[in-house]
Symmetry: C2
Subunit: 344 residues, 2 copies
Amino acid sequence: MGDQQKLDNEFAFIRDVSSLFRNYRAGQTLVPVGDDAAVYSPGKGMGQVVTVDTMVEGVHFKRETMSCWQIGYKALAANLSDIAAMGGKPAYFIISIAIPQDWTYTELLDIYKGMQALADRFKVDLLGGDTVSTPDHLVITITAIGEVEEEVRLLRSQAQAGHVVFVTGPLGHAAAGLDLLLHGYTADREQKVWQLLLDAHQQPLPHVDQGRILARFAKAHTISLNDVSDGLASEANEIAAASGVDVVIRKEQLPVSDVLLSYARQRGVDPYTWVLGGGEDFVLVGTAQAEVVGRIRQAFRDQGFAFYPIGYTSEGTGRVWLETDKTKKCLAPAGYNHFRQKRD
Amino acid sequence: MGDQQKLDNEFAFIRDVSSLFRNYRAGQTLVPVGDDAAVYSPGKGMGQVVTVDTMVEGVHFKRETMSCWQIGYKALAANLSDIAAMGGKPAYFIISIAIPQDWTYTELLDIYKGMQALADRFKVDLLGGDTVSTPDHLVITITAIGEVEEEVRLLRSQAQAGHVVFVTGPLGHAAAGLDLLLHGYTADREQKVWQLLLDAHQQPLPHVDQGRILARFAKAHTISLNDVSDGLASEANEIAAASGVDVVIRKEQLPVSDVLLSYARQRGVDPYTWVLGGGEDFVLVGTAQAEVVGRIRQAFRDQGFAFYPIGYTSEGTGRVWLETDKTKKCLAPAGYNHFRQKRD
């Protein structure tokens, strides 16, 4: 279809979209897309992990800072990250999309191609969707289903005093990448100096494989886990509050990359604004019993994954502290409240 | 909260919403709402039936013709109807809602109360949700999950020549109800004469129990099945095309209620416009081997459900015919194409 062509036939569009996705789970997908509902056969002894995530044009993404491909990629990535945070193996996803008139056929198909890349990477099957029109802004909702061994619990409420706090990747990159896009450092972008930051914002890789390592250890050990969708401060506060312990983050142990430091210096910004408050890094943050951390770290290293101990937990009232050798200050959650920010 | 109060705290709202829903499946719901994702344990030997449905303000519903309670009720009903059409038992649902500024706290909570009524009726558990802001129109997406015995197939592609065509309830009521609302027959509405039509549009009961009866027979017999979301003509065409047989509908066998006839007469409308073309009746339409139809009918009667044979299938090329003793004319699909209607 031509580049500027509008979507005028829902059925042809759905056919073109469906042809993008491979059926990786033929043995389990009993009735694929195309009937009133899809039917799949769950794995023996596997709990079904279910999550939903919605992205609204103008609220969660702007066409100025994200390509169509990236919009689709990221919508699915956010869901797979939630499944990773439960230790699950992604298996299926379902798309709902509400489309306004100003999106072309090619743009819309590119959204699905972005999802396809991630579906191929993690071998998840598209189980269905709903394609509807809307008067205004594009809304994408993805529901993802994964599978996890029924005995595995990687909950945010499982932190205990004496745990080691860890993260599975660098922090603040996604927020710095968004800042970069909004402030248009195009010359530097062409030099690929900041590509790491842009990638973190535009096409983060969910830490599914890392979550699976943690699931293995969770069979015998108590591990708490969240994904860093709303920033480290918020996620750590969720763990602390749900578990009723204090989380102490050692500032000098936080993984702050040279690229981030260099970009923050250029922008005159305190890098810890992004490291602690920036959302959408989609790494995992959790706590584990001290005696198992060495083995977890080794397992991560064996597969080539980063693993950073960043602090400890202690008896407390569910608060988060940022500690240096000299200071200790309370770290409030800094998450995004969709409604307060818009209406105050 | 006050009646006109805006939603200004996403977290308090989510807490209030969550408290509406009971946990009917405690034995199977391993991790309820509240972590990165929910986890449930599937029933042994049960396929997982998955479907999604999106309703957009101004496209799928108008606040002038639906109360907030009814909007929520119907959003879930449409999903449960899809599960019914696969013979499934509804088990879980997940809500995503994108909220514009002009909806009050009370209105939004009423949407969830509408869902609650249906969740209680069919004992389904809320497994999660995403609550986000949007600049414009309300968008509700529900993903529902049901369970069906893995050997059961109630597909639209399973009609065979020599089957009896059936529906599980009256047709055209929802379309007549919408017509009534749009033409403001308020005096008559107060007399409750037309309540049946209004209910069919505003709060249809999905034919879950009827689907379960058909699932029982589907273990030994070939049955095709759809729910009538897009009107009988469209659904019958889907079955005919997917199965490669012709579907012949006997006009005089169609269940046309006295209420519908009376309202159509008053409006000067051919009632078959609604009976054949009107969507959202959410009854089931299917085909079954002639030798089993008597037993299915008896099983429906035993549980107090309607069951109407309305025609037969024959060798053909996947077309649908409307037949009287004297005439036979081809019946084209008359479904709603979201994009063609808006853009042509």
